[in-house]
Symmetry: C2
Subunit: 147 residues, 2 copies
DNA sequence: AAAGTTTACTTGCACTTTGCAACCTACCCC
DNA sequence: GGGGTAGGTTGCAAAGTGCAAGTAAACTTT
């Protein structure tokens, strides 16, 4: 949905930050992308403890931005399946660089071996993320990093 | 400054978002990185219209996170020069991917030719950003994208 | 040296966003 | 049709944000 008025500026970085520059949006994208989460309940129990009103708000905004789509599950009409769009899966490089940066400069629970492996093979990792998305493969590609 | 308690989780993405997951922090980093801005006044008039209390707060937090350092200018003691640390300049790939994503999926003021050129030569662009930082070259590497 | 300007803030206040708990309403299963 | 589950909404207190104004120190001009 381009052509929005009311933008702070036309700088792409600024535009990005207006869409997902907060503490939660990219975590939801991460869960969809690498952990295969699809439902409200999965995101809610994702480990970081997001409040349900914030979660509902972010899912709404991500849908409005065209990053996520929701579809009703055919076996259970209560259940919504949230899924990344192509625009959403294209955020993979952003998340990957954030992961590499934090693993290098902050103390995280990500095992060094895993990070090293990903860093050496960025393109392969991104290709695998994209393949899983395309084939709707719900298997998580990365563990949960519980602290 | 690793070893902080009170983290939501040990996931590197979550850790990153706790440090710079807001609408302003990365814009300040962008201004330092690609426009050569150094002083409070330059950030204030950067185009997006940040409030001065927020700017002061973000500069403080970025310093506390070790992403930015401040040093008094020798010619004018009023003037503080804010500068990225190595940890800060290492955010370049994150910003670059955000720039590419938004240029591809949103309507921005970035000229297509420029984006295409950068996308084809990511490593060269990152090397140039890093060179300018290392040599304290204040020449902006990218224009201001005024809308 | 008095007056004005610039720089980097701080303060006050209205407004918005967030976090937490509780509640609500379909929908499924038995 | 009763109980549990999924995906929310609502209310309220606390925190964060945006804007205008003010401040203190360091220069600059007269």
């Amino acid at each position: 949905m381009p052509g929005k008025s009311g933008r702070r500026s036309g700088c792409p970085v600024s535009v990005s930050l207006e869409l997902f520059g907060d503490r939660w949006s990219l975590l939801i994208v991460r869960d969809m992308m690498v952990r295969g989460f699809r439902t409200f309940g999965e995101f809610r129990e994702s480990g970081e403890g997001i409040a349900t009103n914030i979660l509902a708000d972010r899912l709404r905004k991500l849908q409005h931005a065209g990053i996520v789509v929701a579809e009703v599950e055919e076996t259970d009409a209560r259940r919504l399946n949230y899924r990344l769009t192509e625009k959403g899966i294209d955020l993979a490089p952003v998340l990957l660089e954030m992961l590499i940066w934090a693993a290098r400069h902050e103390e995280t629970s990500a095992p060094c071996a895993l990070i090293e492996q990903i860093e050496k093979n960025r393109e392969g990792f991104l290709a695998e993320v994209r393949r899983r998305w395309k084939e709707r493969d719900p298997a998580p590609i990365m563990p949960r990093f519980t602290q």
